[in-house]
C-alpha cells in the first residue's frame, strides 16, 4: 500500500505493478490529505476568516465577508497584547527549561542508572500528566497563595520568615516546569531505552569520564527526543489556560490564552479579536516547529538496529541515594503536596484556615462536598461521557496517527511533507478558539454530527494529532529500516511487513501514544466548551463549572475523583499493555 515508493527497485517486477503501486500510493496520500483537510484545514480556515472579518460565518452567512485587517491592526497595536505575549514567552520559556532539566534528569536516572526503586520513580515521573491544568493551578493556589497558602501558614507556624508567592511570573514558571516535565521525560526515556550502549562503552574505553560521556555521547545521541520533548512541552504550555488563569488572575498577569479567554467571555464577546490573537499564538508556534525541522534535518538518529542489546545501568555508587532522594523530593513537590492540598480542600467544609492549629482541627472536615457532587446527576453522566470520548479519541486518533507517522517517516511518497505540516498545525491553535472554529465548521454538516459525542472526539483527534504523531515519530525514527528491508527480502508484502515488523516493534510506542491521547482527551477543556450539549457534558466542563461556581471544596472533590479515575484507567491500560508486550506505559511514558 503505502510503503511502495521506498521499495528497492528489484522488488518491482513489472511495469503494470508499478502503475498499480503508484495509483494505490496516490490514493493513500489523497485519503490522508482529505482527512486532514476536514479535521484541520477547514476549521483553521474558519479561524482565519474569523480573524479577518467581524462576522460570525455561520450566523451572517458565508457570503458576508467584510474582509478587513482591522482586527489584526487593533490587536498588533494593543500594548496589552504585547505584554501578554512577553509574559507568555517568559512563562513558557522558563517552564520549558525547568521541564527539560527535570525530565531529562529523571529519564536518565530511571533508564541508565542503578538507582533503587526505579519502577517507582518511573511511575512518579509521569504522574503530573494526570492532573488537569485547572486542578494543578487550584492546588498550587491552596499551597502557595501569599496570604492564605498552606505552605506560608506552616512557615508562619514554624516562625520562619520565608514566604512563597505563586501569583507571579516565577510562580507560573515553576508550576509549568514541574507539570510539563513528563513530556520531556516520555520522549527522552524511550530514546535512552532504545539506545545502543556500545557507543557509550566506546567513549568510556577511550577514557572519557561518565559525566563527559553523558554530555558528549548520550545526550547528543538522543537530541531529537530532547528537542521534540522540549518543543512539545513549550507548545503545550503556550496553549494551557487553567494554570495561568488561576495563578495570573489575582495579580492581573495576562498570557495569550487567558487574554483570549477574556475576549471570548466578555459581554459582548469579541471572537474575531480572539481569533486574531490566536493567530499570533499560531505564528509563534509555527516558527518553533520550523526551527525544529531545520535543526533535525539531515541528521540520522537511528539507534535501534537489528542487533540485540540491553541498555546498561551505570553504577552510581553512593550517588544513587542522592538520585533517589531527588526523586523523592520531586514526588513530594509535584504529587504529595498538591494532592494533600486537594484533600484538605475537598474534605474541609470551608477553606478559611486561620493558623496551623486550625488545619488539623478535625471538626472542620466532612464529606459534604462529595455528597453534593454525587447528588448532582450531571457528575456521573459527565464521567461516562468523558471516558467514552476518551476511548474513541484514543483508538481512532491513535490509528490515524500511526498511519500518518508511518507515511511521514517510513515512506518517500510525494505529499508526505504536506501531511507532516498539516498534522503539526493544530498544535499552534489554542483550544478555546479552535472550539469556536470547530463549531462554525462542523455545525452545518448534514448527518447530525453536532450534539453527539463524535463531534467532541473529532475535535480532540484533530487537536491532539501533533502530540500523538510526535510521540510516535520517535518510535519510527528509531526503528532501523534494515529490519523492514529484511522482511521485504524474505518476500513479505508491505502490509505483511507492517504486521510482522513495525507493529510489534512500535507497539509500546503506539500504546503509549494512545494512553497519552486518552488522558489529553479526558482533560481537554477549551475546545469542549462550545461543542458539548445537554447530553454530552464531559468532566472537564463540569469541573470548570464547579470552579467558576466559586466552590473550591467541590472543585477539589471533583478533581480528586477525576485524578483517581484517570490514574485507575491508566493503571488498567498499563496492565493491559504489560500483558501484550514487554514495555509498559509506565516505562515508556
Amino acid at each position: 500500500m503505502h510503503g511502495q515508493a521506498s521499495l528497492p527497485r528489484v522488488l518491482m517486477s513489472n511495469r503494470g505493478g508499478r502503475t498499480r503501486h503508484r495509483l494505490a500510493s496516490g490514493a493513500w496520500v489523497a485519503l490522508l490529505l482529505a482527512i486532514l483537510a476536514f479535521l484541520v484545514i477547514y476549521p483553521v480556515l474558519m479561524l482565519l476568516l474569523g480573524a479577518l472579518t467581524d462576522t460570525n460565518p455561520v450566523v451572517d452567512g458565508f457570503g458576508v465577508f467584510r474582509l478587513s485587517v482591522r482586527n489584526f491592526i487593533t490587536v498588533l497595536t494593543n500594548p496589552n497584547v504585547g505584554e501578554a505575549l512577553a509574559n507568555t514567552l517568559i512563562a513558557c520559556g522558563g517552564g520549558t527549561v525547568v521541564a527539560v532539566v527535570i525530565g531529562l534528569a529523571f529519564s536518565w536516572i530511571v533508564v541508565r542508572t542503578n538507582t533503587p526503586c526505579k519502577r517507582f520513580i518511573a511511575a512518579a515521573s509521569i504522574l503530573p500528566l494526570f492532573a488537569p491544568p485547572l486542578v494543578a493551578g487550584v492546588a498550587w493556589v491552596i499551597l502557595g497563595s501569599p496570604k492564605t497558602g498552606l505552605i506560608n501558614t506552616l512557615f508562619k507556624w514554624m516562625n520562619l520568615d520565608w514566604r512563597i508567592d505563586v501569583y507571579s511570573l516565577s510562580g507560573l514558571v515553576f508550576v509549568f516546569g514541574i507539570y510539563y516535565a513528563p513530556y520531556v521525560y516520555m520522549f527522552t526515556a524511550s530514546a535512552l531505552r532504545n539506545m545502543d550502549p556500545s557507543l557509550e562503552e566506546a567513549a568510556e574505553v577511550s577514557g572519557a569520564s561518565a559525566f563527559a560521556t553523558l554530555f558528549s555521547v548520550t545526550f547528543p545521541l538522543i537530541m531529537p527526543a530532547i528537542i521534540s520533548g522540549m518543543l512539545l512541552s513549550f507548545v503545550v504550555m503556550l496553549g494551557i489556560y487553567g494554570i495561568p488563569a488561576v495563578l495570573g488572575t489575582p495579580t492581573n498577569i495576562n498570557v495569550l490564552t487567558t487574554y483570549i479567554f477574556k475576549l471570548t467571555n466578555w459581554s459582548p464577546p469579541l471572537y474575531n479579536t480572539a481569533a486574531a490573537v490566536a493567530i499570533i499564538l499560531m505564528a509563534v508556534t509555527g516558527l518553533l516547529v520550523y526551527v525544529q525541522q531545520i535543526v533535525l534535518t539531515g541528521r540520522s538518529y537511528t539507534t535501534v538496529a537489528g542487533k540485540a542489546f540491553r541498555p546498561r545501568a551505570l553504577d552510581l555508587g553512593r550517588w544513587r541515594w542522592v538520585a533517589f532522594g531527588l526523586a523523592i523530593v520531586y514526588l513530594f513537590v509535584v504529587v504529595v503536596l498538591p494532592t494533600l492540598a486537594l484533600i484538605v480542600a475537598a474534605f474541609r467544609k470551608f477553606m478559611f484556615i486561620r493558623d496551623a492549629a486550625s488545619l488539623v482541627d478535625l471538626r472542620q472536615y466532612s464529606l459534604v462536598h462529595f455528597h453534593s457532587i454525587f447528588d448532582n446527576p450531571l457528575t456521573l453522566d459527565s464521567i461516562y461521557n468523558a471516558v467514552e470520548v476518551g476511548v474513541i479519541t484514543a483508538v481512532v486518533g491513535g490509528a490515524l496517527a500511526f498511519a500518518i507517522g508511518y507515511t511521514i517517516h517510513r515512506t518517500h511518497l510525494i505529499g508526505r511533507r504536506a501531511i507532516d505540516l498539516l498534522s503539526t498545525l493544530p498544535v499552534a491553535i489554542p483550544g478555546l478558539v479552535i472550539g469556536v472554529a470547530y463549531l462554525w465548521a462542523w455545525i452545518g454538516l448534514p448527518g447530525g454530527l453536532y450534539g453527539t459525542i463524535w463531534i467532541l472526539a473529532l475535535a480532540f483527534i484533530a487537536r491532539f494529532m501533533p502530540d500523538t504523531v510526535k510521540a510516535l515519530s520517535t518510535t519510527f525514527l528509531q526503528i532501523h529500516r534494515e529490519l523492514e528491508e529484511a522482511a521485504w527480502i524474505c518476500g513479505k508484502g508491505v502490509l505483511g511487513t507492517l504486521r510482522t515488523i513495525m507493529l510489534p516493534l512500535a507497539r509500546p510506542g503506539v500504546f503509549a501514544a494512545m494512553t497519552l491521547l486518552f488522558v489529553l482527551a479526558i482533560r481537554e477543556l477549551g475546545s469542549s466548551l462550545f461543542l458539548y450539549t445537554s447530553n454530552t457534558m464531559v468532566m472537564s466542563v463540569l469541573l470548570l463549572d464547579y470552579y467558576e461556581g466559586g466552590n473550591i471544596g467541590k472543585t477539589a472533590a471533583f478533581s480528586l475523583v477525576q485524578t483517581v479515575l484517570i490514574g485507575g484507567l491508566i493503571g488498567i491500560a498499563n496492565w493491559l499493555s504489560a500483558e501484550t508486550s514487554q514495555g509498559g506505559v509506565g516505562r515508556t511514558g
Binding site: 497563595s145 488572575t249 471570548t264 467571555n265 466578555w266 459581554s267 477553606m351
Partner: protein, 339 residues
C-alpha cells in the same frame, strides 16, 4: 337528567381545574402536553449548581419532566445560541440570560410567551413582552468576619483607606450584565468620582463573582461587593461571612428568559418558566438561593433586606445599552485594569 349530567361534569371539571388554577402554573391542557413531551433543554448563563437546585424544586412539583441543562458563561452562551440558530440546530427550549442587552439582538428567535401571572411583574424589569425576569439578582456587600472587626456599613465605606491595600475584591466591569449594573449604579447614584475613590483603595480584581466569593471565604480578600445569591449559600452553610444590603441602594439585575420559536418541547418549556415565574418559584429562589424578585408584590424578602431602608435600584434600559462601552472603558482606566 341531561342538565344533571352537565352539572356533574361541570363540577368535576372545576375540581380538576381548580388546583391548577390556584397554583397558577398553566392550563390543564398545557400541563398535560408538557408531561407528554417529558423533557426540555434549558440553556442558562447562571451557575450550574444554582440551577440544579431550581430544577430539583421544579421536579418536586412536576417529576415527569426531565430538565437537561447547558450552562455557559454569558458571552459564550450568546455565541452558541446565535450559531446554533443560524445553522437551524438550536437545541434550547428555554434560553435564560443575565445580560438583557445581548438578548435584545436575539428577539426574533423567540416566540410569544407570557406566564399566567405576567401582569404581576414590574414593567421596568422587562425589555420585551417575550422575555421574562425569571431570576432577579441583587447586589450586597459581604465580609469575612474572621478578618474584619470594624465592618463597613455602606457603599461609601468601601472608599475608606482603612480597607485599602488589597483587602477589597472587585469583579471587573466587562464581566457581564450584573457587574455592569453595579458599576452604573455606583456612578449614577454614588457619584461621578466614586470609582476613582474606590479604585484608590487598590482592590483585587476578579473575572466573576464566584471566584471572588471563594477568595472571600478563604480570606484572600476581606470585603467584597457580591451578588447576594453567590455568597448567601456559603453563609447558610456556615462560612465565616456576614452580608448586608447597603442603605444607598441595592442594584438589581433581572434576567431575560424566553422560549425560542424552534423549541422542540414548547409546552414543557412554558410550564418550566411558568413555575419559575410563579409565586412559588420566586419564593423558592428568594428563600433558598438568595435571589430577589421582579414581582410587583414581593412575597418575601431575603434575610437582612428591609425594604423601608434599602431601595431597589433598576438601571434605565436605554442607559444600560447606550453607556456600556464608553463607561466600561473608563472603568478599566480608573481601575488600571488592562484589557
Amino acid at each position: 337528567m341531561e342538565r344533571k349530567i352537565a352539572l356533574v361534569a361541570g363540577l368535576v371539571g372545576t375540581l380538576i381545574v381548580l388546583p391548577a388554577l390556584a397554583q397558577n402554573f398553566g392550563s390543564p391542557a398545557l400541563i398535560a402536553a408538557a408531561k407528554k413531551e417529558g423533557k426540555l433543554v434549558y440553556y442558562t448563563a447562571n451557575f450550574a449548581e444554582v440551577e440544579q437546585e431550581v430544577i430539583k424544586a421544579f421536579n418536586k412539583r412536576f417529576p415527569e419532566i426531565k430538565v437537561e441543562m447547558v450552562r455557559a458563561p454569558g458571552g459564550q452562551l450568546i455565541t452558541r445560541v446565535k450559531t446554533e440558530a443560524a445553522a437551524g440546530k438550536l437545541a434550547a427550549d428555554v434560553v435564560d440570560h443575565s445580560d438583557r442587552a445581548l438578548m435584545v439582538g436575539l428577539l426574533d428567535l423567540f416566540q410569544d410567551y407570557a406566564p399566567p401571572n405576567g401582569a404581576d411583574y414590574r414593567p421596568d424589569a422587562m425589555i420585551s413582552p417575550k422575555l421574562w425576569p425569571r431570576a432577579t439578582l441583587v447586589w450586597s456587600i459581604a465580609y469575612n468576619t474572621e478578618l474584619i472587626k470594624n465592618p463597613p456599613k455602606s457603599w461609601m465605606d468601601l472608599t475608606k483607606p482603612e480597607y485599602g491595600n488589597k483587602q477589597i475584591g472587585q469583579v471587573f466591569a466587562a464581566s457581564g450584565g450584573t457587574t455592569w449594573t453595579r458599576i452604573m449604579f455606583e456612578r449614577q447614584v454614588l457619584g461621578e468620582d466614586y470609582w476613582k475613590k474606590q479604585a484608590a483603595t487598590d482592590p483585587v480584581l476578579y473575572p466573576s463573582g464566584a471566584p471572588t466569593s471563594d477568595a472571600l471565604v478563604r480570606g484572600e480578600i476581606s470585603i467584597a461587593p457580591l451578588l447576594y445569591n453567590i455568597i448567601y449559600t456559603k453563609k447558610k452553610d456556615g462560612a465565616p461571612i456576614q452580608i448586608f444590603f447597603p442603605p444607598e441602594g441595592a442594584p438589581v439585575n433581572p434576567y431575560a428568559s424566553g422560549v425560542p420559536k424552534t423549541a422542540a418541547h414548547p409546552n414543557a418549556a412554558k410550564l418550566f418558566l411558568n413555575w419559575n415565574l410563579s409565586v412559588e418559584g420566586q419564593t423558592f429562589m428568594i428563600k433558598e438561593l438568595g435571589n430577589l424578585t421582579s414581582l410587583k408584590e414581593v412575597p418575601v424578602y431575603p434575610e437582612g433586606f428591609d425594604p423601608k431602608v434599602v431601595k431597589v435600584w433598576l438601571p434605565k434600559f436605554e442607559d444600560y445599552v447606550k453607556l456600556h462601552s464608553a463607561w466600561v472603558e473608563e472603568w478599566n482606566k480608573t481601575y488600571n485594569y488592562r484589557q
